[in-house]
Symmetry: C2
Subunit: 64 residues, 2 copies
Amino acid sequence: MCEANAYLLGNDGESDETLLMEAVDKIEPDEDGIRLVSIFGEQKFIKGHVHSLSLVDHKVYIKQ
Amino acid sequence: MCEANAYLLGNDGESDETLLMEAVDKIEPDEDGIRLVSIFGEQKFIKGHVHSLSLVDHKVYIKQ
């Protein structure tokens, strides 16, 4: 499986990241934000956008 | 390896997609667009943003 963990980026650069959701499969635009869906079907809405990806590291960075 | 293929989404819905780059590792913001970097080090700049992800399907959708 090639899911990734989604992190919320803060304003203090790369070290300022908070885990939002593990095992993310899908991210889709939803109204004024995005909806994250994990491989387990868990869903989370975030007012933000995909900032960057590092797929080999299994990381997706979200910014508000 | 958990790289994905990046597709450019057109305006005709899900069927309107063009392969931009295979084996994408990183996507990062770059000036007024994004820079895609493959696992082979190949780079491509696109004036667009990450629209959605479907990681288990190894797909990243970009929209201009």
